[in-house]
């Protein structure tokens, strides 16, 4: 045997005893009902439109200070870079995508490293996102009591009407709500320890109807996170032209497309390539535009033509100085 044949034999043999269980039923159950997904997409689009309207009202009503908290930095790079006096942490929120609700990361300032877990999880539960397209899946009245990493246990203690699954909440939404906190807690704690959930300081069999007897592990990023995310610039930020847009995308053939919208008109458009195809991978591109107020739309390619998943996108309102 030459060494190539030896290697072939070695690898063939290494997995020769792997007999996977049938996965066809599981795949089928997740690929049927494209029409349902199409409906979900229009509903999602409607939600986005509504959120955008609310955002406009909020800004006009003088509540713009919420997004003003991320404007302290000198632009997109400054707004995400941790500083000594006020560290930033990643908080996950729920937003709509073509494939249904998914998690979007957003950078948030916290008052100190010691308070990072409590404050970040509080923001996640309360849905205090800068981007009006993002929200929390936790019902009104949910309180974040304490989050800590102690003796190797990463725990999140919640209060309020959250043990059972609220009417009108699907299992998928409930599971995503838990993942929202698992992802946030693990990112802030710099740890992949599964999260132990408590209710009013005691272990609880369920939260939102999902089992929480065992600590909850993070789901696969490709299933849980939004397939197109803009990390910078953050929503509502003011930038100088040209500015750099960064984020992550799991896009077909790694193609990422973008438009800079002025009202409903496209002021600029372009495309770039994420570092890898088909799994969340970083992308970045530069945009040059005259001063003005824009909405940046970043999305994957609409290759589906109505079959399969519609495109996924993330939008950010940006002022170019």
């Amino acid at each position: 045997m030459n060494s190539d044949d030896q290697l072939r034999a070695l690898l063939e043999d290494a997995v020769a005893d792997v007999r996977p269980r049938s996965g066809l039923d599981s795949i089928r159950s997740r690929t049927t009902g494209s029409s349902h997904r199409a409906w979900g997409w229009s509903a999602g689009a409607a939600v986005l439109a509504t959120a955008a309207t609310i955002a406009v009202v909020a800004v006009l009503g003088g509540l713009g200070g919420v997004s003003g908290t991320t404007d302290a930095g000198p632009g997109p790079a400054g707004s995400t870079a941790p500083t000594a006096e006020s560290p930033t942490e990643t908080v996950y929120f729920v937003g709509q995508t073509g494939a249904g609700p998914r998690l979007f990361p957003e950078m948030h300032r916290v008052s100190s490293t010691g308070a990072a877990l409590d404050e970040s999880l509080g923001a996640a539960v309360g849905g205090r996102a800068d981007d009006p397209d993002y929200a929390s899946s936790w019902p009104a009245g949910t309180t974040m009591q304490r989050a800590q990493l102690e003796h190797g246990v990463l725990s999140v203690d919640l209060g309020g009407p959250v043990v059972g699954r609220p009417a009108g909440t699907t299992r998928t939404q409930a599971a995503l709500a838990l993942q929202q906190l698992v992802y946030t807690a693990q990112d802030v704690a710099r740890s992949r320890i599964p999260v132990t959930f408590l209710h009013d300081g005691r272990p609880t069999a369920t939260l939102l109807g999902e089992p929480t007897v065992q600590p909850v592990a993070a789901g696969s990023a490709d299933d849980v996170l939004a397939p197109v995310q803009v990390a910078s610039p953050s929503d509502g930020s003011t930038v100088r032209s040209p500015f750099t847009v960064t984020g992550k995308a799991a896009a077909f053939e790694a193609n990422v497309q973008w438009e800079l919208m002025r009202g409903s008109a496209v002021a600029k458009r372009g495309f770039t390539t994420a570092r890898e195809c088909c799994t969340l991978a970083p992308y970045s591109f530069r945009v040059e535009a005259p001063p003005g107020e824009y909405t940046l739309v970043v999305h994957d390619e609409d290759a589906s033509g109505g079959e399969g998943n519609p495109p996924a996108q993330d939008t950010k309102r940006v002022t170019v100085r």
Binding site: M1, S3, D4, Q6, L7, R8, A9, L10, L11, E12, D13, A14, V15, A16, D17, V18, R19, P20, R21, G23, L24, S26, I27, R28, R30, T31, T32, S34, A99, R192, I193, A217, A218, S220, A221, D222, D223, F252, A254, R275, E276, C277, C278, T279, L280, A281, E301, A303, S304, G305, G306, E307, G308, N309
Partner: protein
């Protein structure tokens, strides 16, 4: 059957094209097991590999409109399985490190025990390699892909494929002596 040359192409041209559901069924029948085994070479854990491959089929179904041809669909599946296997390793670092070895025949015969040990040592050796080396070895020696196909699947240059392959082969050399 190799993944490079799907034996199903003919049925397609005769049938005038599949829809997304038919593509899943056909490609599943022809390639599911081999893709799971490919993923096991990359992530070690069988259950994780099953999940990765099932997710990849679901993703392929969603993209069928832009794939349409079985060759393209298969290339997409391969690429998705490799990339997702890598991202699972990154995201589930802890779980992968403590993943139990794949289930084996527990008949107890010495020869089986030896085979199990040998398999485990190959999978362990692969897990010890950098991602790219492991991927290049699996694509080249398990799927029998050409250098050009590997370069395309991994999104790296052919030169990089060569250098990853030669380093990977060197790392596994001691194991190869055991099976020669």
């Amino acid at each position: 059957m190799t993944l490079r040359k799907p034996g199903t192409t003919k049925a397609v041209s005769q049938g005038g094209g599949w829809d997304a559901d038919a593509a899943v069924e056909e490609l599943y029948a022809a390639h599911y097991r081999r893709l799971v085994r490919l993923s096991v070479l990359l992530v070690r854990d069988v259950e994780t590999a099953e999940e990765v491959v099932q997710d990849s089929f679901v993703a392929m179904h969603g993209r069928w409109r832009s794939l349409r041809e079985p060759d393209k669909a298969l290339a997409y599946l391969r690429q998705t399985v490799v990339n997702r296997s890598r991202s699972v390793l990154r995201h589930r670092g802890v779980r992968a490190a403590y993943a139990p070895p794949p289930p084996r025949d527990q008949s107890g015969a010495d020869e089986d025990a030896l085979a199990s040990e040998r398999r485990a040592s190959v999978l362990d050796a692969l897990r010890g390699l950098p991602d790219r080396q492991r991927e290049v070895l699996a694509l080249r020696y398990y799927l029998d892909l050409s250098e050009a196909d590997i370069a395309q699947t991994l999104g790296i240059s052919r030169g990089a494929v060569k250098s990853h392959a030669s380093r990977g082969v060197a790392a596994l050399r001691s194991l190869m002596e055991d099976v020669s």
